[in-house]
Amino acid sequence: MNRLAEQFEQLRTKNEGALVAYLMAGDPDPLRSLEYAMAMEAGGADVIELGLPFSDPIADGPTIQAAGVRAFQSKITMKSFVQIITEFRALSKTPLVVMSYYNPIWKMGEETFLKQIVEAGADGVAIPDLPVEESTNWLNQCRKYHTSRIFFVTPETDDGRAKKIAEQSTGFLYLVPRYGTTGARDELASHTASLIQRVRPLMPAGLPLAVGFGLSNKEQVQTVITAGADAAIVGSALVDKIAQGVSPETLMLFVRELKDGTRRSASAAV
């Protein structure tokens, strides 16, 4: 059992949802992004999602696009990306998932890429522009390297397809409750709960369901967890703070607050 599965298992026993915290590797530079990742972990993030910057991030909104630009300005390379993971893993046992567009992976070779990041300490990979249909080889590699392969389900995905996607997924299933790209929003799509209810029965038993895209505060995290998700993913809201240049400590406090939203017992008290 890998770190991701262990983590979800533990949280389940604690009756807590997971907080998945996203940040862009190299934003604002490799060293500081590592510091921010550690701050997230210290703040209580249950999973770190580490973005690999890409020149053409079609699934991302302006916030994460801008983080990618900052990362490129810091001259991040594949080598320093892997190094961030290595350093993180040396300091922490918290599961780490890589979020990358497909082209850098393809370019390096799926296996080479996977081998490097897994050896560095990554536990899973989510590829926003690689649907299951294009993933035959990728799935094999993930199996070979015992890495979680995280796919996406959206409101547009019909039941048959959602089932198929869920069956290919390990680690967790990434449920995008709304249309569009990443980015913090104030309202949470009202249909999130019913979407969770629709998708849950299609999933293999034991596969955690994470909801992401657009969560920006504790209340939203709480809503999502209350609605039945196993995890809430927060990205742009955290990247926003990093863009503002907050200290790792400030970021840590914010993560801590978000994490509060994942406690089911606590949520009942609100």
Binding site: D56, I58, V176
Partner: protein, 409 residues
Amino acid sequence: MATRVATSSNQLNKLGVGKLSELPKDGKYGDFGGQYVPEILIPALKQLEAAYESIKTDFEFQRELKVLREEYGGRPTPLYFAKRLTEYAGSAQIYLKREDLVHGGAHKFNNVIGQALLAKRMGKQRIIAETGAGQHGVATAMVGAMLGIPVEVYMGSTDIERQKMNVYRMKLLGAQVHPVIAGSATLKDAINEALRDWATNVQTTYYLIGSVVGPHPYPMIVRDFQRVIGDEIMGQTLRRDRKLPDLLVACVGGGSNALGTFYPFVNESSVHFLGAEAAGAASLGKGSVGVLHGAKTQVLQDEWGQISETHSISAGLDYAAVGPEHSLYKKLGRGEYISVNDEEAFEGFRMLSQLEGIIPALESAHAVYAGVQRARKMRKDQLIVITLSGRGDKDLETALRYEQARGTV
């Protein structure tokens, strides 16, 4: 030259397809193509494919398309024997396929009218498009105006600055133009942004892609709507010379005018294909296999898979990838692709203007240059058709600045 068409049936059989003309198979052109897009768009692509399949055999749709192509678009376009250009090149007979005469000034219309009718048929309330130089945006705005469908166009802010008149044209036609400031603020980024819009508004919105690029079924749809170029060429050369051309030449940006020209001849092994890429954006010549904007294809990228910024004097060729079907043609040797640099393209531009009184688009000028060079190596009884994808009016300012910088005007 005859050795160029080396597509052995062995190679094709290995790809598991009988004939190139039957591609795509499962959304793929051999190893190329596919649907590398966010999950939210997958159902929309399937819906699009289904809708497209249904109109392929729909009599009423096809008739409406034909009427609008002819009466609104000005099709068929002539095949013109370029006497003085032929004399200048001094060997093979050069014909020009006059897409520059199409409504809007470029072949872009052929595709836009087809897709816009499809959008209408699908009940979409809104069309979005990306544009680089503005040609595809203008064509989309025109057709949107004519059909009464609102059009919004994404355009890099750098391009907006460079192509003020096309921006004004789009506005005049009632379209909204959204500046894109991300990345290099050019075509690639405009596509990114259009994809994001589509992901957000996928239920109400038709994304009208301008070339044989993007995820399946776009490369197929655009090819099918552009094949009218090659279909007409076939009829015209047969009627005129009782034979097929020996060589077809077209410029390659995304590759739609080239594929529209080549595709109807793909099973005719005596017909050679020559694609002219911009040297500063030669995805086929200098790129490697990658994934961009939803398709696996030849891409200009760095060693880490980051997409390169490109440069070309012709905005329409200034794109880091190419249609997946071209990647396959290139791989199989079915098509030959060469690079033409800015200076050579400009030579083609001047040549055609002064010898034939036709000012070509700078994109098309790449094909003119390549065709004339090749003509010299061919026999007098051979027949070349160069597709003139568009007219040069849109490029006059660029050309003038270029000449001013070189002190030739």
